[in-house]
Symmetry: C2
Subunit: 345 residues, 2 copies
Amino acid sequence: MICRAKENPILGKKDFPVLHEGFENIGAFNAGAALCGGETVLLVRVAERPVRREGRTLCPVFDPASGKTEVVGFTPEELRGNGDPRVLTVGGKRYLTSISHLHVARSRDGVHFRADPAPLLQAQNEYETFGIEDARVARVEGRYYITFSAASPLGSVVELAVTDDFTTARRVGVLFPPDNKDTALFDRKIGGRYYALHRPSCSCFAKPAIWLAESPDLRCFGMHRFVAGVRPGKWDGARIGAGAPPFLTERGWVELYHGAAEDDRYCMGALLLDRNEPWKVLARSGEPLAEPEAPYERRGFFGNVIFGCGLTREGDAVRLYYGASDESVALLSMTVGDIFSHLGV
Amino acid sequence: MICRAKENPILGKKDFPVLHEGFENIGAFNAGAALCGGETVLLVRVAERPVRREGRTLCPVFDPASGKTEVVGFTPEELRGNGDPRVLTVGGKRYLTSISHLHVARSRDGVHFRADPAPLLQAQNEYETFGIEDARVARVEGRYYITFSAASPLGSVVELAVTDDFTTARRVGVLFPPDNKDTALFDRKIGGRYYALHRPSCSCFAKPAIWLAESPDLRCFGMHRFVAGVRPGKWDGARIGAGAPPFLTERGWVELYHGAAEDDRYCMGALLLDRNEPWKVLARSGEPLAEPEAPYERRGFFGNVIFGCGLTREGDAVRLYYGASDESVALLSMTVGDIFSHLGV
């Protein structure tokens, strides 16, 4: 049975320190997950913003030259026409209303987590001036590979960092140029090649869709293939992207992905990909595997969102850690068999 | 002195066969260039479209399943609101008004060209249903690497093909996922790595800009870096992209790039990139190196366009082959010294 943990939401904005003076946390959500040294480790996106002052809305922007997070303020008149709580456009320039970093939380039981004292990764370079977001973690050949989104006026790119223990991580570089997000590495080679699912966003023609790329070294990717697109009119009709890293089963690779309709309601679904030719979709959810139903999934900073970036698998047991309403982290438990039943395979 | 060939334009739509019955060529432009076997070889984009019938505008779409180019027709009522001669949007779907393929033309003197009997590459797979466009050719370690754009409802991707003689070419795969264009390979390794300039287009935040990526094998690219962006208010204020493949000089890599302002007027400029760290811009054109002035550059299918994709270099002599007004191929001659003078280096 696919069921929500009764402890949900298991992590929230109060569980993490605020990094910058005069800022407040607005959410802790969209976490990558891994099993490491007997612990479940979550790499949580923590979003913070400057506290509103003197009637002005303040947007944080990291400055790589000074190493400081600066604040840009706008009056209500300047903000006229802006509706999305996450993004502002003023004078032809776009800003995010918060800046995110990646913070580790650890647990012995996979349900009760405690945050590390300091973040693992935060904005550092010119690709990250609007922050870093939505980590996925894949354990490949004994090391942990972290793929995350970075946002800046240069666009949204996917970066790679590597860690052995989640106490320090080394940035490797930009894996995918703008606009790209939602990158999930396969945890082992297939036919001698590494693989990644990724989510390019186009300036025209195409809706955001799931693509596959291969690599000789986990640094350079190519031979891109389209895997799955939106289904107009359905729950995943407006945009989709990889969720947690895919995991191998006896029937093929299982990928838990997110999909949203035009009304920005995010659900999770499943793809079954061929074991040896992972660009081939063998099965796909008709209806969502999970959709926003619980109060913490329906209401929050950006409501009606279930957004899974991380899972752990022990034997047949799968735990999906997901962001709820861009505000908290929650947990869904299921078995591999539950996913097969859902997919009708 | 930077000067136009008196034979300009040197190739046009009448110089190439029409591939499909009931179609007409509307342009032969945006050519890659190479020296091969004592000849100058141009790989020309030839665009054709169905002849308008019964008052309807017809758009060509290649169908990979049947291997045929189908035609979709629209009445003037259905086309209301469409202004761009290149692209149509009907019922939320986008179409191109023509479909392009890549056709070789050869010359002994680099000025007078004769087209091969048949195209080298034409639409073949699901990434190419709106055609293939704007080839660049780099000779690397004795082989010719062709990078070209492919358009379809999946977005605009960059593909790679390889040839030894321009009589046959082998497709390798998709180098860069959507949306990307204007990819130019460096013709040799730098510090043990291959490099490419490319041009991602973002769905938000960023204007189209020139990025650099590295590769161990010319198939898989990563470690992306931003190189140069638009300069608002200038001739390259709306979008820029790599033109011809960069070539190495004693002062660094010279890249002749295109830039357009908001009014869609395309000019050519130059970048000087660091010899060993080619993501570092040492110099950049203030004013255009070349701008639409001649009649064939100012008027045509899409007027006021100079768009260079190919060049040859013999000693100090550089010949830039460029598309004029999305309709014909023209030639600019210059020396490396002319480019240095223009850059003030």
